[in-house]
Amino acid sequence: MKVGVVSFPGSNCDEDALLAVVERLDEDAVLLWHKDHDLQGADVVILPGGFSYGDYLRAGAIARFSPIMQEVVAHAKRGGPVIGICNGFQIACEAGLLPGALLRNASLQFRSMPVTLRVETTDTVFTRAAEVGMRLTMPIAHGDGRYTADEATLDRLEAEGRVVFRYVDARGEATAAANPNGSMRNIAGIANAGGTVVGLMPHPERALEPLLGSTDGLVLFQSLLAAVHA
């Protein structure tokens, strides 16, 4: 498997994602420069966290127009796997790969903390090795993570089983207290209709080693490996 990690000039989790693939999964990974039109033969694309072009306007609003994103969108349309993490989720929404938008956190403050997620579906290339109801702990670190869409879209996502992760408390309940940013219906991550594009605000690439406190992000990458090698 070859993973392409997009480097926008303000990406700051691109190296983390690259090292996660190379060091933790022992798979091949390359950085894809935002000014290029070349996916370098990547089977999977990671849109990493950061502040793509500064994001002073709106997170991801400029990134969608970058040369590399045209190739990423084409890759996704061909059914190629794409995962957008944090800023990558925002960019995926701006680029139309996923519905809805990520707005300023309800607290109006940046939030950096571990959260608990509940896996809602295994019908995506990034959760097929997980189990529905499984709880995962991993960090969030964002100022604009309040997932928002109109009611019809939310209902459709629910009906089609495209809500992938929800913020939950220690007992697995999707409570308001467990919701770190005011996301509608506690949504932390969603998928496209084919289950090949997933976006989520939490950082699975920061939860791959016991030394760093959690290995719960591994299941996303193991799912991916299983999907690509299937």
Partner: protein, 771 residues
């Protein structure tokens, strides 16, 4: 003899009033005239005003700073560079520095704090190091004041937005609140970077004919005279000085960071420096001075944001995210290509010259010309009078044991709960959760998890521990002892995580040095730091001096903030502060005493800042650190936490509930010390104490004995449902753990929730001429 510089048409005439406005004394002006052998031009006056400001010249502090120890086999770069550098083994090194942004943050907290982060980041990556961690040491007035809540909110947001965007984890720091900082908050930012020893680059201009290149953001009219602003007392006129505060752009900083590291590794450049305080002027003068060469700069070549900027403005602008680079001759195209990749501008603006002169031209016209290459250190130096004030002596001599306890204190649980709510002691989670602490995936122990933050070093077994510390109250009551404690506590905190303390950087925040009592504080505190650095083998690798932290209400507490770096040989040794396992023994390393002076208890419960601060036995501290590290490395220690503000009762409570979702209880017996006054035993701040939990108490005691460190099993870790219980003879302190946790964790969020409801933008007392 230089005759080159001539006044520009339209320049103001040099008058005594203009000289005074530039902060130069009559003697300093005389010195300038002697140096030039003529009347300075307006541009030259501006340059000297910046370079001879306290902030750039260290004119009051340099002779005292020279007494600090700066050498050890592992120190690769001591003071005098953009940042200090130490070797950590395996060919790797760490660059680190702390710097203040107090004055700008007092006037404009968000931008002031944000640009402080930006500046210290640049100081570290210009050494060739990739920043891996940020820390902040913050001091504010009482949280009861709306203005203070506004400052806290703005400073925290500013720090967070900048560091989060650049993608450097903010992992540790220290925050204290005391009315002494009411008008003068302290905002000290520290950055730690990692490099290969052979990638170390210094900001030393060399090579006649080499081009001098301005890189990064364009130069605007913001921040002009920021360095001079930072070198005077705050006053009612400061609102009018808001334009002297710069505006930060973290996205450009991120580009600059990547481009600079690429430039350094390319081999095309010989030196690089941030255009920080006093901008182009100080960066060019300092680089020339270090290389003992001349330099010439043409201000018409500097990329500017707006037309019509004068050489004076271009030289003194403190626009952010700019660097000055000396490239190898003939490599300008390669340098520009690297910057173009990151969409940044680079323009050749000058040249290194053999002639020992600092020359600025505007096209063909020479607007400033100074002989010699030591423009910065040829400044006047002062050794002001130092005398401790009678008031300070009396304050220290006060018998604080005679202060009658409040009626409510009959139950020590009341006092403990109250102390846990003190903003200085309470959980800082409200602050930490606004900082990305896990980006770069190296954070082993982040904010609040241990006495210092721990970051693994990728590709090795090693890890770094980093922490800032300073109790200004102790320094205020006894500067020499307080200076010692600041270093000792930072070292103890780093050691509690399992790291060997290695070196410090410091940020010396004091009042007006021209006042004898302030200079006394400064001198004695630095001597105290030196004592501790020698005893603990943690030399000083650099830092920053911030004087004139005064306003009409008076000076801040003398606050020599210490930024400590330690090394863990094995990241697996990283040790938390919280108890982990019921049944473990609780061991006290060190000795309880009757000391109560300078305590948070006296300040928070009684509103009294008096008495002698606790004694600091440096040899004992060293033995404690050695014993602790041996026990941790042997695997005997499950948690370690030092006793600081609030004393042993607060420390034990924190061990139980600092991690709110993993609470434990404790059953502790301090009866061996029941002869001590209970409040001194529970809440006094005797130094040199660490609480350890262990499943192997005998081994810990044996290690302690070998190092001649007092040690005793004082209790047992219990399930949280058993509660928190400490007794000493007949005195009992018992409380439900959840109640202590609520006091500790809810205090700051509750106070700051009030800030959200308030719309305070400035202190009425500081509201000056601006509408």
């Amino acid at each position: 003899m230089t005759t080159g510089a001539v006044p520009r048409p339209g320049d103001p005439v040099i008058t005594p009033a203009l000289v005074a406005e530039h902060g130069l004394t009559a003697d300093e002006y005389e010195r300038l005239v002697r140096m030039l052998e003529r009347t300075p031009t307006f541009t030259e006056l501006g340059i000297i005003s910046a370079l001879w400001s306290e902030h750039c010249s260290y004119k009051h502090s340099r002779p005292v700073l020279k007494t600090l120890p700066t050498k050890a086999p592992w120190v690769l770069q001591g003071p005098g560079e953009n940042a200090g550098v130490i070797s950590i083994g395996d060919g790797l090194a760490v660059a680190f520095k702390i710097e203040s942004h107090n004055h700008p943050s007092a006037v404009e907290p968000y931008q002031g704090a944000a640009t402080g982060v930006g500046g210290i980041l640049r100081d570290v990556f210009t050494m060739g190091a990739r920043p891996i961690a940020m820390l902040n040491s913050l001091r504010f007035g009482s949280l009861e004041t709306p203005r203070v809540r506004y400052l806290v909110d703005g400073v925290v947001k500013g720090i967070g937005d900048y560091g989060n965007c650049v993608g450097i984890p903010t992992v540790a720091g220290d925050v204290m609140f005391d009315a002494a900082y009411e008008g003068n908050p302290l905002v000290n930012a520290m950055c730690v970077g990692l490099l290969h020893e052979d990638e170390l680059i210094r900001a030393k201009a060399e090579g006649v004919g080499n081009p001098v290149i301005a890189v990064g953001a364009r130069t605007g009219r913001d921040g002009i005279h920021g360095a001079s602003f930072a070198s005077e007392d705050l006053s009612e006129e400061n609102e009018a000085k808001r334009p002297r505060v710069q505006v930060g752009d973290p996205f450009t900083e991120k580009l600059l960071l990547e481009a600079s590291l690429e430039l350094i590794r390319s081999g095309h450049i010989v030196a690089i420096q941030d255009m920080g305080a006093a901008g182009l002027t100080s960066s060019s003068a300092e680089m020339a001075e270090r290389g003992d060469v001349g330099v010439t700069i043409d201000t018409t070549k500097v990329p500017v944001r707006e037309a019509g900027m004068t050489p004076y403005e271009i030289l003194l602008s403190e626009s952010q995210e700019r660097m000055l680079v000396v490239a190898k001759k003939g490599r300008d195209a390669e340098v520009k290509a690297i910057l173009a990749k990151w969409d940044l501008a680079a323009e050749v603006i000058g040249e290194v010259i053999a002639e020992p002169v600092y020359r600025v031209t505007e096209g063909d016209r020479v607007v400033a010309e100074f002989p010699g290459t030591r423009l910065v250190t040829d400044c006047p130096q002062y050794t002001p009078e130092a005398k401790e004030s009678e008031a300070a002596i009396a304050r220290r001599a006060r018998d604080v044991h005679a202060i009658p306890p409040l009626a409510a204190e009959a139950d020590p649980a009341w006092t403990l709960e109250r102390l846990l709510q003190a903003p200085t002691i309470a959980s800082k989670q409200w602050i930490h959760r606004q900082y990305d602490s896990t980006v770069r995936t190296n954070t082993v122990l982040g904010p609040g998890a241990a006495d210092a933050a721990v970051l693994r070093i990728r590709g090795t077994k090693r890890a770094l521990a980093v922490k800032t510390d300073c109790n200004g109250r102790y320094v205020f009551l006894d500067p020499r002892v307080g200076g010692r404690i600041a270093v000792a506590e930072a070292a103890r905190n780093v050691a509690c995580t399992g790291a060997t303390p290695r070196a410090i950087t410091n940020c010396l925040n004091f009042g007006n040095p021209k006042k004898p009592e302030v200079f006394f504080q400064f001198r004695e505190a630095v001597f105290g730091m030196g004592d501790a650095c020698r005893a603990l083998e943690t030399p000083v690798t650099g830092g920053n001096v911030s004087l004139y932290n005064e306003n009409p209400q008076g000076a801040v507490y003398p606050t020599p903030t210490i930024g400590m770096v330690g090394v863990l040989e094995d990241a697996a040794h990283a040790t938390r502060l919280t108890f982990t396992t019921p049944g473990d023994a609780i061991i006290l390393l060190g000795e309880n005493t009757d000391e109560l002076g300078g305590s948070e208890y006296l300040a928070w419960v009684h509103g009294v800042v008096a008495g002698a601060p606790p004694a600091c036995d440096l040899a004992g501290e060293k033995r404690l650190i050695d014993a602790l590290l041996e026990a941790i490395r042997a695997g005997y220690v499950r948690s370690a936490h030092d006793c600081s503000e609030g004393g042993i009762a607060v420390a034990l409570a924190e061990c139980c509930m600092a991690e709110r979702d993993r609470p434990t209880g404790a059953d502790v017996d301090l009866s061996p010390w029941s002869a001590l006054a209970p409040r001194a035993l529970f809440f006094g701040e005797a130094q040199g104490r660490v609480i350890v939990s262990s499943a192997n108490a005998e081994s810990v005691l044996a290690v302690a004995k070998r190092h001649q460190v007092p040690a005793r099993v004082i209790g047992t870790v219990t399930p949280a449902s058993n509660g928190f219980s400490v007794r000493a003879g007949d005195v009992r302190l018992t409380a439900p753990v959840s109640k202590l946790a609520e006091a500790y964790h809810e205090a700051l969020p509750r106070a700051m929730a009030r800030a959200a409801a308030e719309k305070v933008t400035r202190d009425p007392a500081l509201a000056g001429g601006t509408a």
